[in-house]
Amino acid sequence: MGIGISGGGSLGLAFETNVGVYASPTKYHPILSESLEFMPGLMYRRPIRQSIDQIGVVPGNVSVSGTVSAEALDDILVYYLYAMRMQIVRTGTSPNWVYTCTPTSLSVFPTRTLSLTVVRNSQTFGYTGCVVSKLTLGIQNDILQADMDIIGLNEAIQNQPSPTWNTTVPIGPGQWNVQVPTGTQIFDMDTFSFSIDEAGTANYRLKNTGANAGRGAQFIGFGERTVQMTASRDFIDRTDYNAFQATLPQSITILGTANSSVYNSIQFLMGNATKSAMQIVMGAQGDIVRSTLTYDTVIDGNGNACQLAVNTQETIS
């Protein structure tokens, strides 16, 4: 096999019927980068035995980890949201669906698991049991980008897939409605980064069956969830700063509409966000005076730390 370049690669995904059992891709999406990696968890032996070198290696517990970075396309994001700890309700009528995603609290498990199929230089890697441990939605190069931190159970070679590509477009300049607080549109924010961290970890159990001679993780579990957002705004007056000093919570809504279509959008709402940091810095003579904000959330009156709504034509049942 010859030398390849990344542009010839692809990434496809599919929901798994059985956790950890490979499912051929049913959906492909463009990616900006990926770093999925098989983690062998080797244990090198260093007992005292008249040697100061490692004297052997014991195969360890294995898992998969890495990050998939992609344009945040509405038809793709929903798949990854299912691989988090979300209650997802689909409303609307075909073909225009609304997926309302609300974090749940009763389980260590995601709603569904994914098989991710990655083709690198014509070689196919099949990652199974994948969940999204952390989702970050942020502005990068003026468009909305999604970074999915993935943890999975295993990897094995699979048949080379044959992708099909959809024509959805990312959310770019001129397609934003930022409301701070919710209901009041503001015009002084240029970047933000919103994240949901599910604190996923691979859980290993003593066993002798399953993938990799029983060395695969028994499951991927989620821990304490943290929902945060950072943002940059022009600093106009002390109104927001006073709210910061007084620890006043705010509801924040950010809505991005792709292709100026109300049927293709991504919205996230933090109903009860508090600024945990607010830096107002003068850096150089020519710099606009801006504030850098860090928002942390607590649950709102409905018990939710956040809520996402995705409008898309993708049908997921």
Binding site: M1, G2, I3, G4, G8, S24, P25, T26, K27, H29, P30, E71, L73, S94, P95, S122, N159, P161, S162, P163, T164, W165, N166, T167, T168, V169, P170, Q313, E314, T315, I316
Partner: protein, 116 residues
């Protein structure tokens, strides 16, 4: 031997566009005739380099990378989610109206690949 391609991805609405590398743009829910030339272009566009480094230490080209192009699989050999490809015999009937691939349904320039 031309081919007939039925597109029915259940996750997409009828009429939703999808792009296949080497073939072009199509609409979900439609059936297309694919010419031999298009099928061959699909194989060409999905070709890969199967060359290897010369490993014979006695060879004057020892350590040299050989280039070799291996055509991609034929349309009948690939498994594309939600897409069925069959060979067409003369005037074979179709259960659905067939869009002629020469009628402009696939993109004239499939290298554009849509906007995503």
């Amino acid at each position: 031997m031309p081919y007939r391609m039925e597109i029915n991805q259940p996750n997409l609405a009828d009429g939703a566009e999808l792009w296949i590398h080497g073939l072009g743009m199509f609409k979900n829910g439609e059936t297309y005739d694919i010419t031999d030339e298009q099928a061959e272009k699909y194989r060409l566009d999905n070709a890969r380099d199967s060359g290897e480094i010369e490993s014979d230490s006695e060879s004057p080209h020892f350590g040299v990378q050989h280039l070799a192009r291996e055509l991609g699989p034929s349309l009948l050999d690939v498994d594309i989610h939600g897409i069925t490809v069959t060979e067409v015999t003369a005037n074979a009937p179709s259960s659905r109206p067939v869009v002629s691939s020469s009628g402009g349904a696939p993109s004239d320039n499939d290298d554009e690949g849509g906007a995503s």
